[in-house]
Each structure stands twice: as C-alpha cells, then as structure tokens.
C-alpha cells in the first residue's frame, strides 16, 4: 500500500499511519504544521521495519488552493499513491458553535465543502491510474439530527451522503470508498469532554480502519458497538429525540 494520510500527525490519523508503517506500507503525511509533520515522520521512520523515509507536505483543509501541490508532492514521494486516508476535520462543541456563527461557517466549509473538494481531486487521480482506496472519517454524529451536534453533525451528514454516493458511482471502476464513522474516541480532539460508555481508543479504531481498507469495505463504525447504538438511535421516533439530550 502507498498511503497518503491527511491528518496523520494526530489522533486516529497518527494511529493509522503507525499501523501502516509498522507493517511496511509506504506512508506520506499531510498536516497543518511543518514541525509537527517532521516529528511525526521521524516517529514513523523509527517504527518502519526498513526505516523507510516518510515524506510530508503542508495541507490545510481551510485552504483548498494548496491541495494540488500537496497531492503532487505525495505522488512524487510515493511514486504514485494508491490509498488516501482523510482524518483531518474541525470539531467544536455545540455551545461554542451556537455562539460563534463564524466558527460554525468555517467548520461547515472545512468538514463538508473542502473535504469534498479534496476527495474530488483524489478521485480523479486514482481513477486515472485504474482505481485505489479512499477512506474518509465522517462521524456517528451525521447519522441523525441530534441536540449535542446540530452543526457538526450536519456537516458530517453531508459528508457521509457524498461518500456513499461516491462508492456507488465508482466501485465498478476500481475505486473503493470507505466511510468511517467513529463513535466517541479518546483523542486530543475530545480531550476536554467526559467520555460516554463505549468510548474507544485511537489504536482500536486504527486497526478496524486498516482491516476495512484491506477488505475494501464501504462503511464501518468504530468501535463496532457504535453500529448497534446508532441503529437504535436512528430508529427512535422524533418525539423521543425531542425529549432526550443525546
């Protein structure tokens, strides 16, 4: 596998990059911050069995004008990538987003519009070389309109719909699209929040994502128990959803 990971310096992206590097896959990191990218590349090089060089490029989902250059750099370093994983996104609590409408606008643009732009550029490159794999982190928050995730959840709902349709459209052409819906995972993103029951660890999610990539699955919930939780949530009638705080 020759994998690009956008968001590979932190959280679940970091865990996926490590898993791939440790089994000998070639990895290329994209992220927001040059020193962070260098430190994460060093971490992966020390873990890789052949100590292969790990390339990296700046790529910020707020600035789509930089996407092409970053993908060019990845293609050059890897000799043409065949797998792209996107874990990067914005997160803020509903309280903050309800207060700060500009932050809400930025979050919706990053999590939906610019993520789709990035995926479109990746799609064209992968289809041109006969297919490949694209795994994008959406969220269980997109499965149902819920009080704690009004804005964030809606951005992920749009993304999930896009990813499903992308899979339907290009599966036959060799492009596998994996939509990852993590439940609550203990990462830097959720560091200030109280973990609910079934909270997962990033390594656990990473292992599930890599397994799903290998088996070319279109959708996973991680940790897996969230598939069941969300099945229940999706089937609750509206009058119940109005009453509960979940």
């Amino acid at each position: 596998m020759k994998a690009v990971i956008l968001g590979g310096t932190t959280g679940m992206g970091r865990a996926i990059a490590r898993l791939l590097a440790e089994r000998g896959d070639a990895v290329f990191l994209m992220g927001l911050d040059e020193p962070e990218l260098e430190r994460s590349a060093a971490d992966l090089e020390a873990r890789h069995p052949q100590r292969a060089r790990v390339g990296h490029a700046l790529c910020n989902l707020e600035h789509p004008e930089g996407f092409t250059a970053a993908l060019d750099a990845a293609d050059e370093a890897l000799g043409g990538f065949d797998t792209v994983v996107v874990t990067a996104a914005m997160f803020a609590t509903q309280d903050r987003l309800a207060d700060d409408t500009d932050l809400a606008r930025r979050l919706m643009v990053v999590n939906y519009a610019h993520t789709v732009v990035f995926c479109e550029l990746v799609r064209k490159r992968l289809l041109a070389r006969g297919g490949g794999r694209l795994a994008v982190f959406s969220s269980v928050a997109g499965d149902r309109g819920r009080k704690p995730v009004v804005i964030y959840g809606s951005s992920k709902a749009g993304l999930s719909a896009y990813l499903e349709a992308l899979d339907h459209s290009y599966h036959a052409a060799g492009l596998t699209v994996l939509c990852v819906k993590p439940g609550f995972v203990k990462t830097g993103m959720t560091a200030g929040l109280k973990p609910p029951p079934f909270a997962g660890e990033p390594e656990q999610v990473a292992a599930a994502v890599v397994r799903a990539l290998d088996r070319r699955k279109p959708l996973i919930y991680a940790p897996a128990i969230w598939a069941l939780v969300m099945l229940v949530i999706r089937s609750l009638p509206r009058f119940v959803m109005r009453k509960i705080g979940f």
Partner: protein, 448 residues
Amino acid sequence: MVVRPDEAQGPVPTLSAWGRLPAPGKEIFSEDLERATQGATLTRGLGRSYGDSSLPAAPEDRVIATPLANRLLSFDEQTGVLRAEAGFCLAELNRIFLPRGWFPPVTPGTQFVTLGGMVASDVHGKNHHREGTFGAHVRSLRMRLADDSIVDCSPTVHPDLFQGTIGGMGLLGHILEVEFTLHRIPSRWIWMESQRVRGIDEFLEALGRAAPRWPMTMGWIDCLSRGSSMGRGILMAGRWATADEASRPPPSTPRKWTFPVELPNWALNPLTASAFNTAYYWRHLRRHAAGIVAPDPFFYPLDAILHWNRAYGPRGFTQYQCVLPRAAGPQAVRSFMELLTRLGGSSPLCVIKDCGPQGQGTLSFPMEGTSIAVDMAVSPEIQRIVDALNAFVIEVGGRIYLTKDRFTRPEHFRAMEPRLPAFLEARAKWDPKRRLRSAQSLRILEGA
C-alpha cells in the same frame, strides 16, 4: 495497549493513582505537551505511582496527562540512543524494540509507565546492583520550567536541574522529551534460576551470593509467615539467554486478563492472603529450578492481569517501600521483618531486592542496601503502621520511595532525607515561587 487507573464516578471529578485513593482533580490530555504545560502546575503519565505524587495540590484540580504525547523522535541503530516524547509508554517501547534486539537498560516491575514517569520516579529494576537506576542511562531531557521557558538539560548542561529532575517527582519542571540509551540483547528469552528460601537470614545470604553472579535478581517474600519461617520466599535470578540457549521461536504475545470487577473490601483478608502465600510458596516444589522464560512474565508478572488493583476494593491500598542501608547489617532487615509481621496489615505482595550504590538523582530512592516493598490495604490502622515503619527506617539510616508513598509525615521525611536541603536549593533556583506542586509535595515538602 495501556492501562490507566479506574476513574471514580461522582459529582466532583476525582482522580486517583494506582493505590485507588481518590482526590478531586481531572486530567488534561494533550498531544502537544509544549502548549499544554504552559502555566500548568503538575504533569502525570499513566498514573502508576501508588500514592499522591501524580495528584494535584488542592485547590488546583488540573493535571496535564502525557500519554497522548507519545512519539519516537529518533533512534540510532548503531548506538541505541533513543529520544521520545515524555508520554511514550514502556510497553510500546518493548513491543517495537524487543523484536529488533533492544531492551531498556532499566525497567520497573510494570510496563504501563511513561518515559517521563520513569525519569520523575527514577525507577529501578531487578538489575539495580549492576546498572543503577533509569536516570543513570538518561542523556538529556527537554523541560518546561516554572517560568514557562523551555530548556534542555543533561549531566553537563544545567546539571543541578538534571539531577534534581531524576527522581524529583516532576517538581522542578515538566518533562517534555527524554533521551536515553537502549541495550542490545543477545536473544529474546531470559535464562532464569529460582530457589525456594526458608527464612529471612537465608534470603539475605542468597541475595548476596547471587548479586555478583547474576545481572538480575529479586525475591518474593511470604511476609505473613512467622517464627522460624519468617521471611521465607522465592529468590529469582536471571540474565538474557544466549542465542544458543534460546534456539526457539520468539515468545508469543502473552495473553492478558482483565480483573473484571472491584472486589469488596473484605475479599483480601489475612486468611485469603495467607492461603495465597502458602500456595504460591509451595507451588515452587523443587528447591531449585532453572530454565528459559519469556521476558514478560519475568519482568512484569503482574501486568498479565490488567487492573489487578481492583482486588483491594474501594478502600484502596498503598505500598510501603524502603531501603535499609548495607551498613545497618542483616539484623536491620530481620528486625524490619519482625516489626512488619507484628504490625500486621500486609498483603501477598512483598518484594525484596538488594540495591547497588546511590545514583546521581538528588532525591533518587535507591541506596546501597536492601529494598523491601510491601502492599497494604488502607485501613484505620494504616497511618500508625506507616509511622512505626518510618520510625524504624529513620533509626537505621534508610529511606522510603516517594513514588509509593501516601502516608509519610513531613517530619519523618525530613529526618530520613539528608539530601532534602540540596533539592530545596535547586527548587528555589528553578521554581522560586514553588508553582509546580503535587498533593504529595504539599504534604511532605511545603512545611519543610
């Protein structure tokens, strides 16, 4: 995989360490330690210290938690020099580097600790008589100081800061990065010899005999047996097996069990503890045994059962660990064991180890002599027991291990720690406002 102490549930968030006694507090996890430690008063790793050294000093309730700051920054395949962020976990280090033929120069009895915690506690292991403490192998540290500046220190650059941080319980600055040297190992197996020992005098003699011949030694003591069999137990000695001795496939990843529930307080009582000890002692049927074992059960026998501290129930427990100086002679160890048996309150876990010379850490625990560690459930008697043991330790010129401590009184600590003025001097220089503090430092240092 990493194990953190259980978090108590309640209206006020509470935090506890391995001994399970909670205090108000919460952990702030961050991948970016440089940012998170700005203005912070305390950092903790995986919360494996037993007492209150990783708990915040009230009214402060925040502790920065390092486990997400877990990147390897460099590794030199020629020299074994490794640099990593402070939250890098020892279990992860072993998982990556054991198969490549490298092992940490010093390892404590659990691998669920971080590098930062290993430095702050200046951990020691079965090879203390050969290799000293972990701090002896540290080449450099990057720290965030109380004035919010970031500095690198080493045995030659800011040596007082470096030595004060080795075993300094995180009180001179937040440890951000650690650089130390791994050792090459000849195989992935351990050659171990073990021996049933019938009493404390025989034990000390056997430990003394084993030290020059074996790089790693330690003993388990049945500290509930009395009379002529007082201090009976099992002595274990080991070394890395040579490639010829271990001509078999590498050890498989050991199966881990999770202690499923918190037991009620009465579950671990003198009767069950005695029964366990007797069974454990006689399980070693032959007087001598020798053979190849995997590193995990050798170095980390208790790691096979995750969350084993739940066996103590909600009352919590503490570990009393002290070192009695060689100069006090074997009769000091015998008297200590007699006192311990008389006071009661002990549990199945009691470990004895002979230590080599004291290291460079200003407050580092080990000194030339005999170290004894014993777990005790918390009871209304615990303060009296710890006081009595401390009084004895002071009398013979020994000292206790802060990493395990929750009950030592400040006047006792002062009396057993002639190095304290040197540490306080370093603290006055690097943190004159005493901004960095823990529940433990508040308890035993602030009066000093």
